[in-house]
Symmetry: C2
Subunit: 320 residues, 2 copies
Amino acid sequence: MEITFLGTSSGVPTRSRNVSSVALRLPQRAEVWLFDCGEGTQHQLLRSDLKSSQIRRIFITHMHGDHIFGLMGLIASCGLAGTGQPIDLYGPAGLEDYLKACAKYSYMNFSSRISVHLIQPGRVYEDENFTVSCLKLTHRVPAYGYRVEEKDRPGRFNVEKAIALGIPSGPLYGKLKQGQTITLEDGRKIRGTDLCDPPETGRKFAYCTDTVFCDAAVELAQDADVLIHEATFAHQDAQLAFDRLHSTSTMAAQVALLGGVKQLIMTHLSPRYAPGNAIDPRNLLEEARAIFPNTRLAKDFMTYEVPRNRTQDEPWQVAS
Amino acid sequence: MEITFLGTSSGVPTRSRNVSSVALRLPQRAEVWLFDCGEGTQHQLLRSDLKSSQIRRIFITHMHGDHIFGLMGLIASCGLAGTGQPIDLYGPAGLEDYLKACAKYSYMNFSSRISVHLIQPGRVYEDENFTVSCLKLTHRVPAYGYRVEEKDRPGRFNVEKAIALGIPSGPLYGKLKQGQTITLEDGRKIRGTDLCDPPETGRKFAYCTDTVFCDAAVELAQDADVLIHEATFAHQDAQLAFDRLHSTSTMAAQVALLGGVKQLIMTHLSPRYAPGNAIDPRNLLEEARAIFPNTRLAKDFMTYEVPRNRTQDEPWQVAS
Ligand SMILES: [Zn+2]
Ligand SMILES: [Zn+2]
């Protein structure tokens, strides 16, 4: 699970920060999931280590242009590349109609590769390894934060111990791996849980943008390994944040603190805080760290590998 | 009159070439006119010497995504910048509805700053210095080439000569400047044309994309100072050009030759001819030059100043 920031500016691109997009790479399945897709996202992908051909899902928070104007170009380019990979899109009301209108006027045929799913608060997607859910944030237009939960991995089954206990290999191993208790022919009862390492807790990733401070963000962030939260404004510009329903650095930090997250990364910075101006992004970072020390500031192409929650080092496991 | 290429790739962006957009800078009026606006045009503007705030008109050739997907973001950013400059857009059927649909779904309010004009073959725009006209090209969807004509400038009125001839300054000068013939009190007849330099022929700029070879392109290119013509394919891929209704390098050169232009610049190159591949852009340039020697190959951020058609050097005139 590796996060790459493709755009970290708010509203408009600057020379160093593009508009919103975050890539979540899942190396174990050779997939990339995008969160938001501002104009120029496909260009940023070209300049990154990510492969556009691996994009499998795109989650859209809200319909403001700086979060969606890169969708059509990306979809068109993926289509021209002819990889044929299906792409599932998730987003609020209007997303499908927007894409259909753009496709119509630009003479583009999506075919059946593209599926658009209307999101509602709650579960958005689930498979054997991941659950994605969303909640409604507080912004000027309907906006949703996302939470991706990796499912817990069962602990390793200790074959050596099973052999030492004289348990015959075969169907009994399967039961023990599932944590069941079995009775051997000699009458001994063996508990599977005694032969398995504790399960590895899955990682949790939360993505909250655009929003002013809200309870839904705290809920999405609960115990997250990493929280990406917007921080459009510095603390001293809190009035602007309330007026425009965006967050300050200190609101982002409050969400991280109340959510009990391990790592906060702030993004969606207003271009007004360009380095050299009276307030610059480092000031926002200091403000947030005063409340939640484990805070970082996103920049374009920054990559963050979400660490696995291993209970002990298991060098024989391939890192993913 | 200065041309800057903001995107020179066909269909999809590459690391070195963005999708279509060409800027025509008119320094004498501090205006920039864009021709096409593919995704990422506003990003290219940020990296160029051009000022987005000077964009006054945008001419769209056709509704394929690689020519229009940057419009919404550019308009939004110009709006957020709050310059308040009106922008007139010109394009084929569907352009206005496309923009309205995008604005609706992205909660954007264009206000009255943006006017969209539906183009028809013939005159598209005219003011005291310029005429813009269009003709229909031959592409898979309705596509129009543009021709910008600068109006001829009256020749300089030779004040020194008028004084030497003893013509009293005043209203007579105005008549002479207009080329009229006057009669002095002493009976001498003076022809204004004898006191004026010959008029300076205005420059002509033609922009032809996307199209296969067609008569309309030749007509648009007639006697142009500079012709920008698409050259998606190399000559050996002519069958692809005919199938997809794009041009080869040799078709672009034929248009330049038949139009009697001064300079051809080829753009809209297929990414398949990236340097290092079997055919690279220099091959397309050689093919074109064999037919029309005065050919250049566009690249992103290349600037071409269209020379004025001065009959003689006039160092006291400010170059524009
Ligand atoms: Zn935003
Ligand atoms: Zn094109």
